[in-house]
């Protein structure tokens, strides 16, 4: 039965609101628009306006004060600039840009100002937060020591990411950068990590597609998408990462964990370059303004692991940067590499050779992640990096040598299998216990006699066995999280039995 609203109820509510209405004279400080175009307005007047303050245009649109000059003020228009004319009045609001934050944001798609753009109800956050605040100080922080499992074998093994870390994902177009980020979000299910995905300068269709795949994997239950697509004005694309970080900081500061993905910072830098040039700030290298480094450093500094007496919350950042033809020495990539605590390199060649995720294990590093890796993982991964490095060297050499000794051939075969093992399908993050078991199998030679093309099926059956026959072992390891001598013996025994059974089944 639908309940009808009584007119008297509405009147009562309205009366209440009118009673509460404070009759203010509405004195406002004003300025006049001298010129407007390309999302930037120059305003005469507004003598006492602050840098970073919001101003209001005649049609209700808001603007962000960026330049304070001798006789005019440069304002970035947050929205469509078509209805704004020369000579229009601009009002001060005496407020700094803020966005709503809180649990209500989860599962939503928002714009850079925190407005819902998914067709749902307007967002009423628990509180408002200033979008551009200073990062936590040294005293409030502690070292990164808890792992953030991405569910991607090669990352969790070789470049482990800790909660509170900033790990750059870098690569050419179409090398699977976004997929890595999405897999990481999917893998956070049930781990109490709130995820934020910031789409900057992307296609709307891409964002819609991404939303669908996150929803399909049940990841929208703990994820918020902040979108400033390519059709949005440059100021909004510039603001989106800051706004999203303010939303994510709500969790960090309340003792919980959050993960934020900036996809991608190259586009944000380009939007900022556009604004800066229109504001007539002097251009520097690649025409970027002088403060482009600060633009990214102040954003990424906000990712932090807080001390226990500060609540112990964390904000992990995975910025994405796109390179042109693998050139990591251009301006933005070098800047962001130097800011972050490590990087994951994706390569086109590997990608087209079928090695997916196309991560280059030699060039990818994690500067703090080692502390954040669980003990068992460290034990297993220790030899993996070395094995892979030796394999790469040998493989390069083997191209010229016609025949080689048994030891070298053996090493080559092991390397090929390890390269197979670190392949992984998209949107299929793997549990950490299974990762440990398969890498242990690879580095200890259990795969050596399995034909290359069978490695995948071996893997699949091993995972299935860990969920059924060997469930005991999996549970024991997930409690201990370290390969004690006893567990190691058990694992060896398990793998011997499984491999023998697999081979028998293959022959039969």
């Amino acid at each position: 039965m639908t309940q009808k609203l009584k007119p008297s109820e509405i009147s009562a509510i309205l009366k209440e609101q009118i009673d509460a209405y404070e009759s203010a004279s509405g004195t406002a400080e004003i300025g006049k628009i001298v010129s407007v175009g390309d999302g930037i307005a120059h305003v005469y007047g507004l003598t006492s306006v602050m840098a970073g303050e919001l101003v209001e245009f005649a049609n209700g649109l808001q603007g962000l004060v960026l330049n304070l000059e001798e006789d005019n003020v440069g304002v970035a228009i947050l929205g469509e600039d078509r209805q704004i004319k020369e000579g229009d009045l601009v009002k001060r609001t005496k407020a700094i840009a803020q966005v709503p934050v809180g649990e209500v944001l989860t599962g939503r798609i928002l714009d850079a100002l925190g407005n819902a753009i998914d067709g749902g109800a307007p967002v009423h956050g628990e509180e408002f937060r200033t979008i551009d605040i200073k990062a936590p100080g040294i005293i409030e922080r502690t070292n990164v020591h808890e792992p953030l499992q991405t569910g991607i074998k090669v990352i969790d093994m070789l470049t482990p990411i800790g909660r509170g870390q900033r790990e750059l994902i870098i690569g050419d177009r179409k090398t699977g950068k976004t997929s890595l980020a999405i897999d990481t979000i999917i893998n956070q299910k049930g781990k109490d990590v709130y995820c934020f995905y910031v789409a900057i300068g992307q296609k709307r269709s891409t964002v819609a597609q991404l939303y669908e795949s996150l929803k399909k994997h049940g990841a929208m239950e703990y994820t918020t998408i902040i979108s400033a697509t390519a059709s949005e004005s440059a100021p909004l694309q510039f603001l989106a990462p800051y706004a999203a970080t303010a939303m994510a900081e709500y969790y960090r500061d309340s003792g919980r964990h959050a993960l934020i993905i900036y996809d991608d910072l190259t586009k944000q830098a380009q939007a900022y370059r556009q604004m800066s040039l229109l504001l007539r700030r002097p251009p520097g290298r690649e025409a970027y303004p002088g403060d482009i480094f600060y633009l990214h450093s102040r954003l990424l500094e906000r990712a932090a692991k807080l001390r226990d007496d500060q609540g112990g919350g964390s904000l992990t950042a995975l910025p994405i940067v796109e390179t042109q033809a693998g050139d990591v020495t251009s301006y933005i990539p070098t800047n962001v590499i130097s800011i972050t605590d490590g990087q994951i390199f994706l390569e086109t060649d590997l990608f087209y050779a079928g090695q997916r995720p196309a991560i280059n294990p030699g060039l990818s590093v994690s500067r703090v992640g080692g502390d954040a890796q669980i003990k068992a993982m460290k034990q297993v991964a220790g030899t993996l990096r070395l094995d892979l490095a030796q394999f790469r060297e040998l493989a390069a050499f083997a191209q010229f040598a016609s025949d080689m000794d048994a030891a070298s051939r053996h090493q080559l075969e092991r390397g090929e299998r390890l390269m197979r093992v670190i392949r992984q399908d998209v949107h299929e993050p793997l549990d950490v216990i299974k990762q440990i078991v398969i890498i242990f199998a690879g580095t200890n030679g259990y795969l050596d006699e399995i034909p290359l093309e069978k490695v995948k099926s071996y893997e699949g059956q091993l995972y299935a066995a860990l969920d059924s026959t060997y469930l005991d072992f999996a549970q024991k390891l997930s409690v201990e999280l370290i390969l004690t001598d006893e567990l190691k013996a058990e694992l060896t025994n398990l793998l011997e039995k499984f491999t023998a059974a697999y081979k028998r089944a293959g022959k039969a």
Partner: protein
């Protein structure tokens, strides 16, 4: 160089020259007249801004047009601006000149819009209150705007005081929608 900066330099020079010759009041009056003429006649504005017209030609035209209406000093300013190629900035120069002139005399231009025409005592009362607020002599410019429905809107260069019914309704609407 930005338009404003050019305008400020020329306006300041003009103001200092005018005060030096004790003709500031006349020049200000002339400039106000010029401003109104430019506003009313688009042809004149186009002629003033046209870069194809030679300064000598324009000088002759100005003489015919303004000889009787403007003081010799103001005319001299016009010729000077033209020779320097700064005549296109005339509207801005006039604006800044007026600001300097009023600042020196502690005057303040105030635009008062109301839904109905105001009576003399009403205007006097408003001016008295405003002069207390801004500590300036108020020079009111009255304007009737029925769109306000009721009340007043008072506007100076830097402030807008909205006491109109339209503004109040808008604020009530904003407050209700934000709930």
């Amino acid at each position: 160089m930005s338009d404003r900066r050019i305008a400020r330099r020329y306006a300041r020079a003009a103001y200092q020259t005018a005060t030096g010759q004790e003709q500031a009041v006349d020049v200000h009056r002339d400039f106000c007249f010029l401003r109104e003429s430019l506003k009313e006649s688009p042809e004149l504005t186009r002629y003033v801004l046209d870069p194809q017209v030679l300064p000598e030609e324009r000088q002759k035209a100005f003489e015919k047009l303004f000889k009787k209406r403007l003081s010799p000093l103001t005319l001299q300013f016009l010729y000077f601006f033209d020779r320097k190629g700064r005549l296109p900035f005339l509207p801005q120069i006039i604006e800044v000149f007026e600001k300097i002139y009023l600042d020196e005399r502690k005057g303040l231009n105030v635009r008062i819009s109301s839904a109905l025409p105001l009576t003399k005592p009403e205007v006097d009362d408003i001016c008295w209150r405003l002069s207390n607020k801004f500590q300036r002599d108020i020079i009111p410019q009255l304007n009737v705007d029925p769109g306000l429905t009721g009340g007043l809107v008072i506007q100076t260069d830097d402030y807008l005081i909205d006491l109109s019914v339209r503004g109040s309704l808008r604020r009530v609407k904003e407050q209700m929608l934000s709930k």
